[in-house]
Symmetry: C2
Subunit: 248 residues, 2 copies
């Protein structure tokens, strides 16, 4: 795997959707992401209940952050990909409220909070871009919550892949119609609040109605427009189709 030039890291790609960056800002981002660490598939970087000592930026690979519940089941919160920040909350809360596990081999760089805060003073635009990215992640979590709470399994699954695709798009990891996706149906189940068996049935239905195929680690959209209609999908950055009504 070729090492990316720092100026074109996934993170800077992502942030450039929000602000355009000058050389100093790009250098600062590059410095934040020096010395990547390689993690093997399956390794747990963060453990629920342990003290969070650092945050990380993902450089490449797929992971999942999840909560373990009393009865042994787990709820996957998100699948971090290149350009995403993980574990920031754990640091601020001191104790980690969730775990992080690598689903493929993964490359990350550690950042100390002490590196981040001064950044807001020296590179305020970069700081606000990071805040924007964080808010965006939060909005995705909230969307996820609404999905699990109020959408059917079919809608929910469709919505998930559309959102994932949009996230991958921002870091240049997908074309319009298909992308690589190393998740198992068990992973999907734990993310979507379903059983793995039901995920299988839902995926079959999505395939049969010719909207989307999930096969051999590859997701293919057959009719993105219809999929968006089915899922009630609105782009993450706020363009909504909903008529919010008016009266009390």
């Amino acid at each position: 795997m070729p090492s990316l030039s720092p100026e074109n890291s996934p993170l800077s790609q992502k942030l450039s959707h929000f602000i355009s960056m000058d050389e100093g800002e790009l250098d600062c981002l590059a410095a934040l992401q020096s010395n990547p660490i390689r993690l093997e598939r399956g390794s747990e970087l963060i453990r629920q209940g342990e003290v969070g000592r650092f945050a990380c930026f993902m450089q490449s690979g797929w992971g999942c952050s999840f909560k373990l519940l009393q009865d042994g089941s787990r709820q996957i919160i998100t699948f971090p990909i290149a350009g995403d920040c993980i574990g920031m909350r754990s640091v601020l809360l001191r104790v980690s409220d969730h775990s992080f596990c690598a689903l493929t081999d993964v490359s990350v760089t550690r950042v100390e909070v002490s590196q981040i805060l001064p950044l807001f003073t020296r590179y305020p635009r970069l700081g606000s871009a990071l805040l924007w990215a964080t808010s965006r992640d939060e909005a995705i979590t909230v969307d996820h919550l609404a999905s699990i709470g109020r959408r059917t399994a079919l809608e929910r699954t469709a919505h998930f892949f559309l959102e994932l695709s949009e996230r991958l798009m921002m870091v240049g990891l997908t074309s319009e119609v298909e992308f690589h996706c190393p998740l198992t149906q068990y992973d999907l189940a734990d993310a979507l609040g379903l059983s793995a068996i039901h995920v299988n049935r839902v995926l079959r239905e999505l395939r049969e109605i010719k909207l989307l195929t999930f096969h051999e680690g590859k997701v293919t959209f057959h009719d993105k427009a219809a999929l968006k209609t089915l899922a009630g999908y609105e782009t993450i950055d706020g363009h909504t189709n909903i008529d919010t009504g008016s009266s009390t």
Copy 2:
């Protein structure tokens, strides 16, 4: 309703669980919260899809922030209470991804983001306390997500009230065994991802097994320990009961 002395505002009460504040910091918080605005029950302060122009701190009353879905259903994300910040994400994302509605008469103060950012420079401890509070809210949302995804209706409802109680506790709005709670069963349903009718059944069961009563706007815990066991509850600030296992 007597106006609170600024030094004892819900927000400063909440933050004082994280840092102890000196006079300058308290004054700064007080300044942030001057000129409260009164909102009538039912008024919508933030509308999904509109441009988010400001954030607010709640002074008193109850509200709900929620997402509207395509089919008209809604998912309530959280019920902001005194001391909570609302709409911050909407400002940073420019377009609001959710709505906010007052469930009782409510008093809030507007804050411009331009007021917040310099605060991190002048009162860094206050800034980090605010970050902590924000992270804590995020952790609650994530918990909520796990609840809806993986807990049964009964566990989920129990968990919700325990968490709510802990939040109220931080701003001095509850005793150990009971608290005022103006939510309807419809509100609960939209928060818990259930139908109102099923919420009613669940509440009846919680009453029958003598764990919790929800009646006439009042929540009473009859056996908090048993309730925590049922819900698999861990305190928000990270003290967990879960044995995270060990092997791969």
